[in-house]
Symmetry: C2
Subunit: 465 residues, 2 copies
Amino acid sequence: MLGIELNRKSELQLWRQIYQALKELMLSGQLKAGEALPSTRKLAKELDVSRNTVCEAYDLLLAEGFVISRQGAPTRVASGLCIEPVEPVLLPKTKSKLIPPVSVSFRTGRPDLRQFPRFLWQQLLHKASNELPLEAFGYTGPQGLPELREEIAAWLFRSRGLKITSDHIFITAGATHGLHLIADILRGDGQKILMEDPCHTGMLRTLKNKGCTIVPIPVDAEGIQTNYLSKCGNTGAIYVTPSHQFPLGGILPASRRASLIRFARENNLYIIEDDYDSEFRYSGESIAPLYALDPQRVFYVGTFSKAVFPALRIGYVILPYKFQDRWRDLRTHTDVQNPPFEQAALAEFLRTRKFDRHIQKMRKIYGQRRQVLLESLEGAFGSEWIAYGDSAGLHVAIDFPGKRFDEGFKNYCLQNGLYITPVESYCIEKGRHQSKLLIGYGHLEPAVIIKGVELLSDIITGLNI
Amino acid sequence: MLGIELNRKSELQLWRQIYQALKELMLSGQLKAGEALPSTRKLAKELDVSRNTVCEAYDLLLAEGFVISRQGAPTRVASGLCIEPVEPVLLPKTKSKLIPPVSVSFRTGRPDLRQFPRFLWQQLLHKASNELPLEAFGYTGPQGLPELREEIAAWLFRSRGLKITSDHIFITAGATHGLHLIADILRGDGQKILMEDPCHTGMLRTLKNKGCTIVPIPVDAEGIQTNYLSKCGNTGAIYVTPSHQFPLGGILPASRRASLIRFARENNLYIIEDDYDSEFRYSGESIAPLYALDPQRVFYVGTFSKAVFPALRIGYVILPYKFQDRWRDLRTHTDVQNPPFEQAALAEFLRTRKFDRHIQKMRKIYGQRRQVLLESLEGAFGSEWIAYGDSAGLHVAIDFPGKRFDEGFKNYCLQNGLYITPVESYCIEKGRHQSKLLIGYGHLEPAVIIKGVELLSDIITGLNI
């Protein structure tokens, strides 16, 4: 009598329940080394199951070495099985936070998903999964689908004048993924990375997780202040967003671009150029990449997260030729490759120029929303504010001279239903941008933008900061 | 006269050609700081284009800071622009290798893609992309689609008796990706990882790329030899494949499992359990994971690359509770999340039990092929060989006592149209498995398996090794 209880309603087959019960008895030492198990016939009768059911349990116990069986002799418990049982760890219940629901979220980096041609995308995805050759379901290599790389090269040529072949392009799972692999390529002990300050906190975290030491370089309305670059020993790279600085939005002027390239050459360091959303320039064409000035010194990081949709997880990196083999090795041994379906669908989206039309459409929509935002701000705050980086993108930084915004302000806004981030939250060295707020508007309908500015105005007036 | 030449057949718009030509003249110093550009009217006439075309070029040059413009004054070149031009790097042509085409590839880890229910998968993918809520196109968090995690938990329960909730499951982009994140979680300076020897060279490379020091532990026909485990200072983890050791195929006996857990507890180290293909066990049910013995000390790594198809890029990790927050942080800042479509399609594949049916079907097909292989070997080599690990998986290790296989043998086989790997290639410490070859047969039709064994027999006889 082993005291095994069976649950005949469980999804777990009866033989497996018997197997598990016996295993637990052995692991806990209730069934001891050398002890004989009941015969399959006897246990089957006792549990009111077929003998086959018990045999199946005994077979797996035998295959896994829990029991030993010899012709003619009873099945016995193997030795050395007993281990202290562990208490199951129960996951703590998520604490219910006492934050009221957000009524307006000025979060940054959120494209408007409702405008995405979802039906068209489904068709493209279906077509792609239909037409992909069988080999595309196997391992197809770390560089990415050739058709997609061809189309990205063509897009970069027609939108930015970049002369590049598909051989130079390496598909990634987005910009963060690109930066993470570049950091691994460039990694050395105590690697220093120069970084714009303020900067994207996610990208900062990615580099810090890699063990990089971050050296902040100040940013003004035009982007990174190259006159602050000084000789840094053992520096590996400099991370910049020259087309549209995140978060202040500056377009890096040509003279600073030239300084940056000269500095990189003199100090033998690499430039990581993150071109995260320059598709959405309102007043003219996309800015030309820094990459074009020195393809052997610049890693160009692009993504389709903003231009298509975030969950797509497709971006690309153009990297100096000497690092291509290292990249292939690293990618193969971190996450192998991208899945093929989205790549094929995106290639078709680009090839048919429906991507270009989507960009044109979104540029117009985002431009109109930006206009609504700026007008609302004027209505609420008169002329006591200055917009930074309002020529491109899905967000804008607003400077309210004389005011101070900090984490306390952010939390107070949250309590009042408004999600908004002070630029200070993105600063490595604190104190230089306390009067600025970041307003993400791309994903918001005009009415919501207007409501958000009213909320903000009420809060600022009420707090009298 | 600036010598600008336009190509009216180019995909690059005329204004961008003008912009690029002017930019190159400034960067190279042919147009110098302070120099006045021709008026838009004059240049338009000279180039035979509309004035608007020239204006667009000038506008972008102005936005990017290449030129300075003041009311009433001519547009002038900004200062500090000149940088040394770089020679374009031409990618070397891929060298044509003088290797004849492979007629039989005994490569390992290759499922038979022709047997995959492709049409069903397309339907599932289409349904998923149709039904996913709009939010699924945005950022949805690093843990993975809840529906998929529910279905994986249910599958692990019905197939392996594992009692687990979806909260414990973290979706990855496959087993390699899981191991790479675990290594980052456990990483310390000079981290030592104990590893089975022989082992999967890809996984070994993943850990070496992380800077881990590898301590090899010998493997025999039953798996890792736990009696070789000794106290290792500053050891972080031990990587094992207990359900089906790669490459020798042993099922780790219960007593060694208990030793492993005791050793891990005594030395305060973690176990990484890679359950890479135990779905395909021929003679009975899937082996129970080591994880069940101590969920707070074991990282369980699973993948659908073999059971569904490699390019799917979906796997999962079940990790000790205390590392869940660290995992979320690391995943968010390396590659953010998986795309949603494949996740939703796989969830449906599991929910409808069509996955289970596919596994059953493939188990039968692979079992038949294994039989063909073993019979062919008997026909060709009589009884002068021993099969290792032939109870599961897509490959088998064959020991030819007295023979020696090395890289030279592998290359010789390649020259003769046969891809086959000596186990020695997977050894960290060389010399212990020289008489064994690895034969991957899962992806091969019976006729090809027979042909491959004939080829192998001819080569071995011819070489007289």
